[in-house]
């Protein structure tokens, strides 16, 4: 497969998956997921100490995906590194052949497994986007010349179900202004809401080449869906989906969740609502190929 950037630039409906590095040195399962997905998707996100839980690093795993012939999307958060650390890791990423960077704020340490850690947030996600762009132009943040520029395709995130939405949209606009090339959204489940969000987003991105990919987290059961509603800010699973999941036996709910994800992919693609999807199965990546197959099958 070509690169994530090529797929975006070609105007394809792009599909990315996600790899969550393990907590430890046992990479067997992760490598299996990488090999399973790398040729089925346009790009593979690698999470960066996701949920502020310490894990194997995004940079090393992204490098491994390059080595295996996939195209990684290196997630970089502003939580753990100051502007020196971030830029150094960006140069390391370039050195490893990584070209896609997803710039995130990062969850606060207090939600993770090292609650006593000092958080950094020297840059915010907007600065990190700007920084990637500067490095692409051959300069570091301070304007010092680099001996060799980077060539990053720069991504960012946005939360369509944020409450209130208005401040979120202003930040989205700052990210566009900073030069983000693509966006992956926080998980969305309400397609009507998402269409309304996309209308607002398209107004902001008018005149740019910015691509917007809907984030889809596969629902694995009613319990998980309710938990997301209750505990994850900016995620809204509508009652209709809860009912749909609840209407089948517990052991069939994951299958139903996969069907819902496939249906949403089809809907977003066939109605040209957005430019692609980012499919997250959170540790259950082996179900992703089937979801993609279901999404590609005629409805």
């Amino acid at each position: 497969m070509g690169t994530y950037r090529d797929a975006c630039n070609a105007g394809n409906f792009v599909v990315s998956g996600e790899i969550g590095p393990p907590k430890g040195t046992n990479v067997t399962n992760m490598l299996h997921h990488i090999d399973l997905l790398k040729d089925l998707v346009d790009g593979l996100n690698v999470t960066d100490n996701q949920s502020a839980v310490m894990r194997l690093g995004s940079l090393a795993v992204s490098g491994e995906i390059v080595r295996r012939g996939g195209d990684p999307i290196f997630q970089a958060t502003c939580r753990d590194r100051n502007r020196l650390g971030l830029q150094s890791d960006l140069l390391s990423a370039a050195f490893l052949g990584i070209t896609n960077v997803l710039c995130l704020t990062g969850d606060h340490p207090s939600v993770g497994d090292h609650k006593q850690a000092k958080s950094v947030f020297d840059f915010d996600s907007v600065h990190l986007i700007q920084c990637c762009k500067k490095m692409n132009e051959g300069h570091d943040w301070e304007g010092n010349e680099l001996d060799g520029a980077t060539d990053f395709y720069v991504g960012a995130v946005v939360t369509p179900e944020a409450d209130p939405l208005e401040p979120q949209m202003y930040k989205f606009a700052r990210k566009v202004e900073a030069g983000a090339d693509f966006f992956q959204t926080q998980a969305v489940y309400d397609m009507d809401n998402f269409q309304r969000f996309m209308e607002q987003a398209r107004e902001i991105t008018t005149g740019t080449e910015v691509k917007i990919m809907a984030g889809l987290v596969v629902l694995t059961g009613v319990g998980m869906a309710k938990y997301m509603n209750r505990a994850v800010p900016g995620i809204f699973v509508p009652d209709a989906l809860l009912d749909e999941l609840g209407a089948v036996a517990k052991e069939d709910q994951m299958k139903k969740g996969m069907e819902i994800a496939a249906r949403h992919i089809r809907f977003l693609r066939d109605n040209e609502v957005c430019d692609g999807v980012h499919v997250m199965a959170i540790g259950k990546e082996e179900i992703v190929p089937e979801i993609l197959q279901m999404a590609n099958a005629p409805a």
Binding site: R79, R83, T105, D107, H108, S110, V111, S119, F121, D122, F123, D124, S125, V126, H127, V157, T159, A162, D163, P164, E166, P167, Q168, Y170, K171, A173, R174, E177, A178, Q186, P233, G234
Partner: protein, 225 residues
């Protein structure tokens, strides 16, 4: 106002292990207002220590606990009794404790945990609104400081953790970015919301900071003296 809270008594006792004769110093400013190092707290601490077999040889609530000359003067005026002491227990913020440090070479023990620079909303109700970041930027934010009041100190808008207008990190705390946007709307200064802000310049608050010359804004790296 510097907001502090009392350390657990057991921790203080542990720190004072081996010390018999104790001086207790309180502070007439912040620690009095926060009820952590005023007259009643000093008296209570004296009683508690005596119950544990310590001998409290002197107590005083210094007018301004972080005023080093103030603390030195009090100790000098009572130098005979102070000379007997094994340790000084200071009920104030860390600045007050270190003002005592500057006034004696003996064992100095903190009796409070300094928490934050707080606004007094009403009696015993404090909220952190400023964190001394060195260059005030709040005009762009409706005079609501994102450096302090956003859990991540974000300067260009909210993260994804805004939860129905509250902060994911502390569900009791409003999201600073919701407050900022609402305030700018009230003022009719919505244009401020479209400004792209640079990261903070942390070089202006290199620690330890000192103003070593009299005059406005002369921040320099420097030692205590």
């Amino acid at each position: 106002m510097i907001i502090s809270q009392k350390k657990p008594f057991e921790e203080i006792l542990e720190d004072l292990e081996g010390d018999t004769k104790i001086v207790i110093i309180g502070c007439g400013e912040c620690a009095t207002a926060t009820r952590t190092g005023g007259e009643p707290e000093v008296a209570e601490m004296k009683a508690q220590l005596e119950e544990e077999g310590k001998e409290v040889v002197f107590t005083d609530v210094v007018h301004t606990g972080c005023h080093e000359l103030d603390v030195k003067r009090v100790l000098r005026q009572n130098k005979q009794v102070v000379a007997e002491a094994d340790a000084f227990l200071v009920l104030s913020c860390g600045a007050g404790t270190q003002a005592c440090r500057a006034a004696t070479d003996k064992h100095v023990v903190p009796g409070c945990d300094p928490l934050f620079l707080g606004n007094i909303q009403r009696s015993m109700d404090f909220l952190e609104k400023c964190s001394h970041c060195g260059a005030c930027v709040i005009d762009d934010y409706g005079a609501i400081c994102p450096i302090t009041r956003c859990a991540k100190g974000l300067v260009n808008g909210p993260c994804g953790g805004t939860n129905h207008g509250m902060c994911e990190v502390d569900p009791e705390m409003p999201c600073a970015w919701t407050l900022i946007h609402e305030q700018l709307k009230k003022e009719g200064r919505e244009d401020k919301r479209t400004k792209l802000h640079e990261p903070k310049d942390w070089n202006v608050v290199r620690r330890p900071a000192a103003i070593v010359e009299r005059g406005p804004g002369k921040l320099k790296m420097g030692s205590e003296e």
